[in-house]
């Protein structure tokens, strides 16, 4: 039987520093993400949300505990294999510096094709994705010609372009107005439901709550399921 879990995190601790400067950022985190579901992780600044996201995405390893992405134990594999896992299975939507500054919007996607050695979408499919995000007219623009909201939407499109199994989003709606928040929220929700993806969003934006299947709150490094 197929395992529906895409990310499993058990007893995760993360500590920075040594001795007296030691700070425990995450404490005994238990988290599971499944296909076809969108999870929201909320919490105040400094609560450990971003550290949680970096560990879930294999960008860093926990001090203790076990992380599995698509059944692969991240703590047991070398950096190259973690890179490959991110490249092939995970789409990141980041807050800042999302786009390569010297590539046009179209080239941002073609660059992904070049790295992975495969064309992920036809021109029509790409234009449909961009149209869903309202950025189809920006295809020939460079990032410095885009507004903050447009940049964020292109970054979302780029993360979704290689059709990843898991999407990890760090404040994906930070630079968007309410109308666009609705579009992005619905798009992420549809990805989970219609395309059976696993979506994990770390955010302050409570407007996204309505699209989530599960909401988790991190407070002082501890995670609990919120209502």
């Amino acid at each position: 039987m197929e395992n529906k879990n895409t990310i499993e995190m058990h007893h995760i601790d993360k500590t920075f520093g040594h001795d007296t400067s030691k700070i425990q950022v995450l404490k005994d985190i238990e988290f599971t993400a499944q296909r076809g579901e969108m999870s929201l992780v909320i919490g105040p600044s400094g609560s450990g949300k971003s550290t949680f996201l970096t560990i879930a995405g294999g960008l860093q390893t926990p001090t203790a505990g076990d992380v599995r992405v698509e059944d692969t134990p991240l703590t047991a594999i070398p950096v190259k294999q973690r890179d490959a896992l991110r490249l092939n299975k995970i789409g990141f939507i980041l807050q800042a510096y999302n786009l390569v500054p010297f590539l046009t919007v179209r080239e941002q996607f073609r660059f992904v094709d070049r790295i992975k050695g495969a064309t992920h979408m036809t021109e029509d499919e790409l234009m449909t994705l961009l149209a869903d995000l309202g950025i189809q007219d920006l295809i020939t623009k460079y990032p410095n010609e885009l507004s903050g909201g447009q940049t964020q939407r292109v970054a979302i499109a780029r993360a979704l372009y290689p059709n990843p199994e898991i999407v990890l989003a760090d404040e994906p709606t930070a630079a968007l107005d309410s109308e666009r928040v609705t579009v992005v929220g619905q798009l992420l929700h549809d990805l989970a439901k219609k395309h059976n993806k696993s979506i994990i969003v770390v955010t302050h934006d409570m407007r996204l709550k309505q699209y989530a299947d599960h909401i988790y709150e991190i407070l002082d490094g501890s995670m609990r399921q919120a209502s």
């Binding site: 970096t54 896992l85 490249l87 990141f92 510096y97 010297f102 660059f111 460079y142």
Partner: protein, 352 residues
């Protein structure tokens, strides 16, 4: 290569400036190499054209043909073959009423020996009578022609130009080929002095006279006045330029890489392998250096075409190839210095 080329195309001014800087460095290195080779060539053109393997000189002449004298009593004890030729060298000033004076090197020959026999003329003929001379094409830049009657130094005797030859320079001065008797006259020597030395196409020719010594052509050339010092000066200038270009290219690439760290961190977070970013940096350095070198070669070719004939500049493919490979290598080494930065890029920094 994709990222490297796209970035250069997008940031035309920034990368144009770097290419311009590499162009100037490569242009300077090419011109200096051309001058170094041209000057070295003009020191030894005539000697090279003789196909000599060794030079026989008085052992107390400090390996200088001009300072050496062979006496009749010495040459009487020697047996010359078809591979040996007497030469008498004297520095002269050639003058003619209608033309500018030319500082030259007089080489007195026995025209029946191999140097005289094998001398290739570009126009005219070899001397058939006394007081006839063959001169280097360099005289043509001062408008000397066949039939011109010239005098040497303060002597009143006139000599007629009956032939021109190419690539005949010693000590960066054009050569005047004449008789050994003319050399004696110029040096104001009695008949007991026969020549300055013997040029041999046999590396192991032994004169059999205690006072005379066989020197290899390489040893003889290295002792030409100023030759080694001049070559070393150019070599050091070119080497320092290479080192400077290495430092400049490395500094530019280092700064560019630092500016791109946030972008690289995002790409690393997305799983783009570090080797893709490293190869991008090296490819970009190669593109920049290739661009600069290509423009440098073009500018050098234009300069060489525009320089007056009197400028001793000459190009030789092995030297140009060596210089080009040297600059390319400095570019690659310069690009490798910031590689450590790329390998240490922390993808967490874009999220945390």
């Amino acid at each position: 290569m994709y990222l490297a080329w796209k970035e250069i195309k997008h940031e035309k001014l920034r990368y144009g400036l770097i290419i311009g800087m590499i162009l100037l460095i490569s242009y300077l290195v090419y011109i200096l190499s051309g001058l170094a080779f041209g000057l070295a060539q003009q020191n030894t053109e005539a000697i090279d054209s003789w196909g000599a393997q060794s030079v026989i000189l008085d052992k107390d002449a400090n390996t200088s043909l001009q300072q050496s004298m062979l006496t009749k009593s010495q040459t009487d004890k020697m047996t010359l073959t078809k591979k040996e030729s007497y030469v008498g060298q004297s520095a002269i000033v050639a003058k003619e009423a209608k033309h500018a004076k030319v500082s030259a090197q007089f080489i007195g020959l026995d025209w029946d020996q191999f140097i005289g026999q094998k001398l290739v003329l570009t126009s005219g003929h070899k001397p058939t009578q006394a007081n006839q001379i063959v001169v280097d094409d360099g005289f043509k830049t001062s408008n000397y022609q066949l039939g011109d009657k010239i005098q040497f130094n303060s002597n009143t005797e006139t000599y007629t130009i009956v032939g021109f030859t190419h690539n005949a320079k010693i000590d960066i001065a054009p050569v005047v080929y004449g008789d050994l008797s003319t050399w004696q006259t110029l040096k104001k020597l009695p008949d007991t002095f026969v020549a300055s030395g013997i040029i041999s196409q046999n590396a192991k020719y032994q004169p059999g006279v205690d006072q005379l010594k066989n020197y290899s052509v390489a040893a003889f050339i290295n002792k030409l006045p100023g030759y080694s010092a001049q070559n070393m000066t150019f070599t050091f200038m070119i080497a320092f330029l290479m080192i400077i270009s290495l430092v400049v290219i490395a500094v530019f690439l280092y700064i560019l890489t630092i500016q791109k760290i946030p972008n690289y961190a995002v790409l690393r977070a997305q799983g783009v392998p570090a080797k893709v970013l490293v190869s991008n940096t090296i490819n970009q350095a190669l593109l920049l250096v290739f661009g600069g070198l290509a423009l440098g070669v073009g500018l050098t070719a234009l300069t060489a075409a525009a320089l007056p004939a009197g400028v001793p500049i000459a190009f030789n493919w092995p030297i140009l190839g060596g210089v080009t490979i040297g600059i390319l290598l400095t570019g690659v080494i310069g690009a490798l210095i910031p590689v450590k930065l790329i390998l240490k890029v922390d993808p967490v920094s874009v999220i945390a």
